[in-house]
């Protein structure tokens, strides 16, 4: 169970980063012409849902694993009761849920665009908290694989964010 807990956690983190990257490339209109925008958007939405599914699996396996010593409350309420290393992960889960669930429930269309955008940007702190959770509670933090993987993920995440921010800056300069 412990191996499965670690595996689902790592895959959930990878999916979260992939969703973020997809979303930023899409919003920066940097997706090329080969594939239609709705292809990118559909895959972005799907990856977001899959991230939440794997986070759910990660939590369920942690709950089933009696050695982990985590109760339902520990897994649903972020607190320092079992240490903040777990609490950061719970907080990240709720942030992901806030971002993803409205998309599934079609709440997005009823939300004003600005409100939706603000909610959507919660994915960034959620991924940052995921990284903190992985680093603090992970058994693999001392391994070279983990360090290299974390550095790669940070790089992969920062690149599209930079492209997006540069695009916004360019537009603002052009309109000024």
């Amino acid at each position: 169970m412990w191996y499965l807990t670690r595996a689902t956690g790592i895959v959930a983190a990878l999916l979260a980063v992939a969703t973020l990257v997809w979303g930023f490339f899409f919003s920066a209109r940097n997706t090329g012409t080969r594939l239609r925008p709705n292809w990118w958007l559909a895959l972005h939405n799907y990856l977001g849902g899959l991230t939440l599914v794997f986070i759910g699996l990660h939590m369920v396996v942690s709950f089933i694993d009696t050695n982990a010593g985590l109760g339902l409350i520990d897994l649903l309420i972020p607190s320092g009761a079992v240490g903040w290393r777990i609490g950061w992960g719970v907080l990240a889960f709720w942030l992901f849920a806030i971002v993803v669930l409205p998309s599934i429930g079609r709440v997005r269309r009823r939300l004003p665009r600005k409100a939706w955008h603000a909610v959507h940007l919660l994915a960034i702190p959620a991924i940052a908290l995921t990284g903190v959770h992985a680093y603090q509670s992970g058994s693999d933090t001392a391994s070279n694989y983990f360090t290299t993987g974390l550095a790669l993920l940070i790089g992969i995440s920062v690149y599209p964010i930079t492209i997006r921010l540069l695009g916004i800056a360019q537009r603002r300069l052009a309109t000024a």
Partner: protein, 235 residues
Amino acid sequence: MKDADMTAPIDPLLQQRLAQLSGRRPGSALPPPTVAKSAPNRTTARTLPTKPGRRAKPARRAKLSALAISATTTLGLALAFAQDDTQTHASDALTLATVPVATPATTTPTTAPAAGPVAANVPTTTVVAALATPAGVADGTYVGATDSNRWGPVQVQAVYSGGQIVDVQILQYPTADRKSVSINQRALPALISEALSARSADVNTVSGATYTSKSYRVSLQSAIDAARSASGISG
């Protein structure tokens, strides 16, 4: 004949259009206001036959691939972790068997078990049923080597009585912070219990206590080796 050929219905759309046109012939009344109603039907009829399912589910193949990759990666990682853990067990045992331990285990022959300084807060396990160990091990308490990991040192001692392990006690464990104390208070009893069940130091890693589990295995194996060595058992 020609007129009949031209009005022959080719498909439902054409038939519908012809019906509308026939309504506009001179002398006939204007078509009833069903044009607005029929327009959406025409649109629906045109869009439906083109590549069904293609637009409704974009990136379907990519989605399936993402799901398959995620599931495969999860299983692969879980297997890799399990294999890595097994290899660590094997390499620990090999190292201890072939190379003398840097901190030699001390032997304290005694008739009364559990005489060592047991670390506070860690419950020790009292063995109800004595375990079978290699015959001929002298009674006593055998202290294992200290194995340090990133969170702190772990050291255990094995108590032998009647040639059998009757207890495993924790001498040192990471106590630098509350988190370590909490983790180890949960993990160490499980490790002790598992070692007694497994009749060796070959215990599984406890969730959330990977480093302590590894150090526990090293220290316990060293204590068992010390007991065998002190009793003149080789191999």
